[in-house]
Amino acid sequence: MQKDFILITLADDDEDDRLFFTDAFEELKINTVVNTVNDGVALMNFLNAPGTVLPNIIFLDLNMPLKSGIECLKEIKANPKFKDIVIAIYSTSSSEEDIENTFVLGANIYIKKPSHFGKLKEVLSEVVTLNWQYITSGLNKDNFLLRM
């Protein structure tokens, strides 16, 4: 049964953003299971907990208390257990610095949080339905930042 669902985890400290995120997936009607964690520490605890079914895609906010998105990204990439998880950076900022850093650290895609709910749905559906195996092999900096 699990094979039919795409497992998605969002790590974001902002309550409103988590709400938009879950609402968007509810409206999208794609077979996804979305769970959210409130910060970086919670994310790593969740991933490292025994018995956790690892998500297919993690949406990672950068600016979080306790443990930032960058730190989470480093930890995830350092652990071979998590090598199959697609990491989508999900941030308000689109500064060159952040894009550069996360790309170098091995994130798969960079999404700037849209300011329109409709746009958000479009972006999320695009990311989820991407053929990641294909994308990962042809990863380059030009298409790292998702432009819609």
Binding site: D17, S93, S115, F117, L120
Partner: protein, 588 residues
């Protein structure tokens, strides 16, 4: 250079005088020898004359004796015998003196002995009593014969003496005929050499005088520059550790020139207690290291009692006489020190300011955007779901909220872009402007097709610059033209580039031959009043109402910033309803 010349000269003069000295010694010895020879010759001439005279005398005494003898024989008067008796005595005396004169010459002595024998023989014929007339006749005859041979003997001796005299004279003449010439010419040469030496000395003296004047001038100017430059020079004799301070060194310490004994102990009294160690340590190893390391220290100025910062450095200098001295310079660097302190402070402030600016950037890029994004997302949710249920008034208010939030979004984005233009890395590379225009056109493609605009450009140049900034520049200018295009006419933008020399473009205010690339954007849009040509580049400055032409007034300000980043110039020309023209000058 002057020194070595002078020293060469001294060597020259020394050798000149040495040569002259030896020539004079040579001259003196030649003269001495010459005089000695003359003396010898005259001695021997005198000798010869003495011999001749004595011989003549001898003959005359014998003649006297003969005459006396004859008188006595004829008259038998004994008075006639007197000369005869005297003659015998005189002859003996003459022989004695002759013998003395020629005692070194054996040949002459033999001659003399022969003459003596003859004289003796002659006297043997002087008899007072003759036995008969025959005896008398024989004696008389024999006496005459002896007398004749005596005469010839004396004649021979005299002629030998004369011959000797002539040969001696010849020899002397031969030996000394060149002497006057040699003496005279060597004398002339030595006069010449001495003259040369004299001239050289005079020249050196004149040089010394000029050099002295120059040194005086130099000394005076270095005194002045010491005062102006706030430095003092000093000399340290390594052997006896005595110092010699320039006047200004004293002044720097707040003392009257040469007002105290310059030595290390007295100097130490001026130095800040915390810095005395550095100071003495530096002077300890000067002999081994041949120099004084650059030291910084503080002193207490005696007259004003203020703390001044000093800097000292020195070097060992060995002069031609082998004296080891250390030549040093001490400078009052208080002003520089204070300025550096101030600059460091300002730098710290700048770093702080920059940090704050970066933080502000972050706030603007992240924290300000976040609530706005949420507002907009919520607006979009209401719009999708609830808008229809709103009253007409609420709907219009809602639309105004939407507009305002959109404007805020644009404003934040533009501001971010403006600040990013400011701080982004300035790595210059060769940029193909054709590529830049193509990228700008593709970026603006939607806008261009909407306005049915035509962008003309042909064979633009390459320029050194920052690619993405130049693209932003082109995008902003082209989109400005599109925005203010006429509604009844298709927008046309012409882009050209041309190389120009700075001095040919007066408005650049640069008279150099520096080359610039002039890029022109000309459109057929609404244009503007020329009086606003400079204002349009100011941040947040707008010529139109928000309603007709929405915008933040940041776009052209960004353009100006980018051009300034490239050390270039941007100018605008406008005519209402005819179009606008932007000129950009970028250095090549």
């Amino acid at each position: 250079m002057f020194k070595s010349k002078l020293f060469d000269s001294i060597g020259f003069i020394r050798s000149v005088f040495l040569i002259a000295f030896f020539i004079l010694i040579f001259l003196a010895s030649i003269t001495y020898r010459h005089i000695k020879e003359l003396d010898k010759i005259s001695d021997s001439i005198m000798n010869t004359y003495a011999i001749s005279i004595e011989l003549g005398q001898l003959i005359s005494y014998i003649k006297d004796a003969e005459t006396g003898h004859r008188g006595y024989v004829i008259t038998n008067d004994s008075t006639y015998l007197e000369p005869f008796i005297n003659a015998r005595k005189n002859v003996n005396l003459t022989f004695q003196s002759l013998n003395n004169t020629i005692k070194s010459d054996t040949v002459k002595q033999q001659q003399l002995i022969r003459i003596y024998e003859l004289v003796d023989k002659r006297f043997s014929y002087f008899k007072n009593n003759f036995a008969n007339k025959d005896e008398f006749n024989t004696d008389f005859k024999n006496g005459k014969m002896v007398m004749d041979s005596l005469r010839s003997e004396i004649e021979i001796m005299l002629s030998t003496e004369n011959k000797l005299l002539t040969t001696k004279d010849k020899l002397y003449k031969y030996n000394n005929s060149n002497t006057p010439l040699i003496v005279f010419s060597t004398f002339l040469i030595s006069i010449l050499i001495l003259g040369l030496g004299y001239m050289r000395i005079i020249k050196n003296y004149k040089d010394l005088v000029t050099q002295n004047i120059r040194l005086k001038i130099f000394d005076e100017s270095s005194k002045q520059s010491e005062i102006l430059g706030k430095y003092g020079s000093w000399l340290l004799n390594i052997e006896d550790k005595s110092f010699n301070f320039s006047d200004n060194t004293f002044r720097l310490l707040g003392c009257k020139p040469q007002s105290f004994q310059a030595n290390l102990e007295n100097l130490l009294n001026f130095i800040h207690p915390d810095d005395q160690e550095i100071f003495t340590a530096a002077f300890q190893n000067i002999e081994e290291s041949a120099m004084l390391p650059l030291i910084h220290y503080r002193i207490l100025k005696k007259d004003t009692l203020e703390i001044r910062h000093f800097r000292t450095t020195a070097k060992i200098f060995i002069d031609r006489l082998g004296n080891k001295n250390m030549i040093g310079t001490t400078q009052d660097i208080t002003e520089d020190y204070n300025k550096t302190q101030l600059i460091e402070l300002r730098n710290k402030e700048l770093v702080q300011n920059n940090k704050e600016l970066m933080e502000f950037n972050h706030v603007a890029s992240h924290d300000l955007q976040e609530p706005l994004r949420k507002i907009q997302t919520f607006i979009s949710r209401i719009e999708d779901r609830e808008k229809e249920q709103l009253s007409e008034t609420a709907k219009s208010y809602f639309e105004k909220i939407q507009e305002a939030s959109n404007r805020m979004r644009i404003l934040i984005d533009d501001l971010l872009q403006y600040s990013r233009t400011n701080r982004s890395e300035k790595r210059f590379e060769e940029v193909d402007l054709n590529q830049v225009v193509s990228n700008a056109i593709s970026e603006l493609s939607e806008n261009i097709s909407e306005k049915k605009a035509l962008i003309h450009f042909e064979k633009l140049h390459h320029v050194q610059g920052i690619q993405f900034q130049l693209e932003q520049l082109f995008i902003n200018i082209i989109s400005n033209s599109l925005k203010y295009s006429k509604t009844d006419e298709a927008a046309v933008v012409d882009i050209n580039s041309k190389k120009v020399k700075a001095y040919k473009v007066p408005k650049l205010k640069d008279d150099s031959k520096k080359e610039y690339l002039k890029i022109t954007f000309k459109d057929n849009g609404l244009g503007f009043e020329q009086e606003y040509a400079e204002k349009i580049f100011l941040l947040f400055n707008r010529l139109h109402g928000k309603k007709e032409y929405p915008g933040t007034g940041v776009g052209l300000a960004i353009c100006k910033k980018i051009v300034e980043n490239h050390k270039g110039y941007i100018f605008a020309k406008g005519k209402v309803n005819e179009g606008a023209e932007f000129e950009i000058y970028l250095p090549i």
